[in-house]
């Protein structure tokens, strides 16, 4: 597909051309908390590292109304999902994560909300030229310019962005930009490749995944789980902020007679996640929960969907308040195998 160049000063105009669609982009400050809808006239800056909250929420909002109803009535009203949305500046790892999560949401029975949103979204990626300290995408099948899950990849070439359409949606988007773009020459493409290589080299952290999916269940009783989880707080940070975590809870919430059934992110690191009324809990301590989190990503998911459910974005490492480090855990797993 086509590769185009966009002069950086034309970026605002490019964004303007997208008017009519809902735009999402990382919030303004450098260490952006999350992707947020872009208000009209605003030009999102792309000089961020990565958002703390992954863009998964654009497809799988933290809280989502499934349907509304009046108490006492039987009619249920579904929210209308019809806005075409463009996500600007999605990092390749997060885009990959979308494809990974999608496998589950399309498994057997489609999850209508996710699937619908996925259909409506165009994902514009931004290659990483300066990966973060804890990035290890290259260990788990991704890379700083991985294109999986993207409709369009942007690469920062200094004065220009290189724009590569990867899907039809991407093409359409490029077309809509019309004459703002110029065709990229082979130099630009070469430069990009160089940049990507450099970026890959900057990635220092690494996990070895060979044998891990098959081996993990065998480490069920290994003392490593106790060791790595003793300090865990059982909070939602590592899971909420993980682009591939997708568990949710469903609740009915009512105000007066108005009510809705909605779902919201849940976390397997929470104690009550698996708690039964009898007090019986199949995962009674943080040890089992940590074991489950890692095993789910690196073994169960692989079993089911043939892909590791971790894209190496490093968020869980960066943000865990007590330095529980998935790379370290995997090192220990490897040693134990």
């Amino acid at each position: 597909m086509s590769a185009m160049l966009l002069k950086k000063e034309k970026w605002p105009e490019f964004v303007e051309k997208l008017a009519g669609k809902k735009l999402w982009a990382p919030g303004a400050d450098g260490d952006a908390m999350r992707f947020a809808p872009v208000t009209e006239g605003e030009t999102p800056a792309l000089d961020f590292n990565n958002t703390r909250v992954p863009p998964k929420e654009a497809l799988f909002p933290q809280t989502e109304t499934m349907y509304r109803f009046q108490l006492g009535a039987e009619e249920m009203e579904e929210p209308q999902l019809e806005d075409e949305t463009v996500l600007l500046g999605v990092r390749p790892c997060d885009a990959r994560a979308m494809t990974i999560v999608e496998k589950l949401f399309r498994w057997d029975i489609d999850d209508p909300y996710y699937v619908k949103r996925r259909e409506l979204v165009t994902v514009v990626g931004l290659a990483c030229s300066d990966p973060g300290l804890n990035c290890f995408c290259t260990s788990v099948g991704g890379g700083p310019a991985s294109t999986e899950g993207l409709d369009l990849l942007m690469v920062d070439l200094g004065d220009n962005y290189l724009l590569e359409a990867l899907t039809e949606k991407g093409e359409t988007l490029l077309e809509s930009a019309g004459d703002l773009l110029e065709k990229a020459d082979s130099d630009a493409v070469k430069e990009k490749e160089k940049l990507v290589l450099e970026a890959e080299k900057k990635i220092k952290r690494e996990v070895k995944t060979e044998g891990v999916p098959e081996g993990l269940p065998g480490l069920w009783e290994d003392p490593l789980w106790q060791n790595v989880s003793a300090s865990c707080l059982g909070c939602g940070t590592c899971t909420y902020l993980c682009p591939t975590c997708h568990c949710f809870d469903i609740q009915d919430e009512t105000e007066g007679f108005e009510s809705r059934r909605c779902r919201m992110w849940d976390s397997c690191m929470f104690g009550e996640y698996t708690l039964h009324t009898s007090g019986h809990n199949p995962r009674p301590t943080r040890r089992e929960r940590t074991r489950n989190r890692i095993s789910h990503k690196y073994s169960y998911y692989v079993d089911k969907f043939d892909v590791i459910a971790c894209v190496g974005c490093g968020r869980c490492i960066n943000l865990c308040p007590v330095n529980i480090d998935i790379v370290e855990i995997l090192k220990k797993v490897e040693e134990a195998l």
Binding site: M33, R34, R52, V53, Q62, T63, L133, N134, K204, R205, N227, A230, S231, L233, G234, C235, G236, T237, Y240, L241, D249, Q251, E253, C262, M264, W265, S267, F270, G271, E272, G279, P284, T285, R286, I317, L319, P321, V322, N323, I324, D325, V327, E328
Partner: protein, 326 residues
């Protein structure tokens, strides 16, 4: 305090028969990280450190640990847990004793007089993190950052964590073993962060907090890390009645944050952990400290300084202020 002394003491304590493990700080996996370490025997004690990076309040683990059902015919393991505490952390222990969150006989408190820790965010901002772990030491009047060959002197004011600037209990208020010499205590100073918000008008304050609370992802780190949030079954998790809906939005987030802050009124010992762990960088410390200050100034009460004290929320004085009453 000498590292040797610390490790030696920890080793001795860890080897005691009546002690399950020692909770201390150890080197983290990269950069400035320091991780809580659970040391079961003397050998493990060599991992322990105490440095300006040891921000975590380890007292939280005293109550965080799950009490698994004891299999029939067996007895619960009620050996003591030893925990290393800085001044602020020790107040958590004292307050836990007040509230019977733990029993005195359940803990061995290893006191670490603390010259003040760094603000990790600030540190990383000014001196970018690396993949190697970096050491920071205390000097006479500041910190020394040792990165490979390189040594950087940093003044106290530049990096001192906010909670430490305000701390008046750098020496543990309760301990079984005290390491090193007591450090100089500081005077009560104005809490600028709190004052700055108080100086805004009501609408500005509302706008400020709306922006903050809207960011909350309800990860509950702030609650889980808090040594004084030790209810087995937090009311904010309950459905009947529902105090706070599970939905994550500004309204519920605010309710959650009010409830959390309020439940800690007169109990929060200002260790600053909630603020440190918040992935959304919500200045939770300001909320807590505001209340702590009112509790101190208006009610003459400070939590976690006297393990025998009456709990603030379960006591009153006939002359408590009532200027707000019609």
């Amino acid at each position: 305090m000498e590292l040797e002394q610390l490790q030696k003491t920890a080793a001795e304590v860890a080897d005691r028969e009546d002690v399950k493990y020692v909770i201390g700080w150890k080197k983290g996996s990269y950069g400035y990280r320091v991780a809580p370490g659970f040391i079961e025997d003397a050998a493990g004690a060599a991992e322990l450190i105490f440095s300006p990076l040891c921000t975590a309040n380890l007292a939280t683990y005293l109550t965080l640990v799950e009490k698994l059902p004891v299999p029939r015919g067996q007895e619960a393991d009620d050996r003591k847990v030893a925990v290393m505490v800085k001044g602020c952390d020790s107040r958590a222990v004292a307050q836990l004793l007040v509230e019977k969150g733990i029993g005195r006989e359940e803990v061995v408190v290893i006191g670490c007089p603390c010259p003040g820790v760094v603000d990790p965010e600030l540190l990383a901002e000014k001196y970018p993190e690396t993949e190697e772990t970096v050491e920071i030491k205390w000097t006479e009047d500041g910190f020394l950052l040792v990165r490979g060959e390189e040594e950087i002197e940093i003044s106290r004011d530049e990096l001192l964590a906010e909670k430490c600037r305000l701390c008046r209990y750098p020496n543990p208020v309760i301990s079984d073993v005290m390491l090193g010499e007591p450090v100089e205590t500081r005077e009560l100073v104005e809490d600028e962060g709190v004052a700055e918000i108080e100086n805004r008008d009501v609408d500005e304050r509302a706008a400020y907090w709306e922006e903050q609370f809207a960011k909350c992802v309800r990860c509950y780190s702030c609650r889980n890390v808090c040594p004084l949030c030790y209810c087995q079954d937090c009311i904010l998790d309950r459905l009947n009645p529902t105090w706070v809906n599970r939905a994550v939005n500004f309204s519920e987030n605010t309710a959650f944050n009010i409830a959390r802050a309020f439940h800690l009124a007169g109990r929060c010992i200002e260790c600053g952990e909630c603020e440190r762990v918040c992935p959304a960088n919500i200045p939770l410390g300001r909320l807590n400290r505001k209340l702590a200050r009112e509790v101190r100034d208006k009610y003459g009460f400070e939590p976690g300084v006297d393990p025998e004290a009456e709990p603030f929320q379960a006591s009153f004085k006939p002359d408590d202020p009532e200027d707000f009453i019609l």
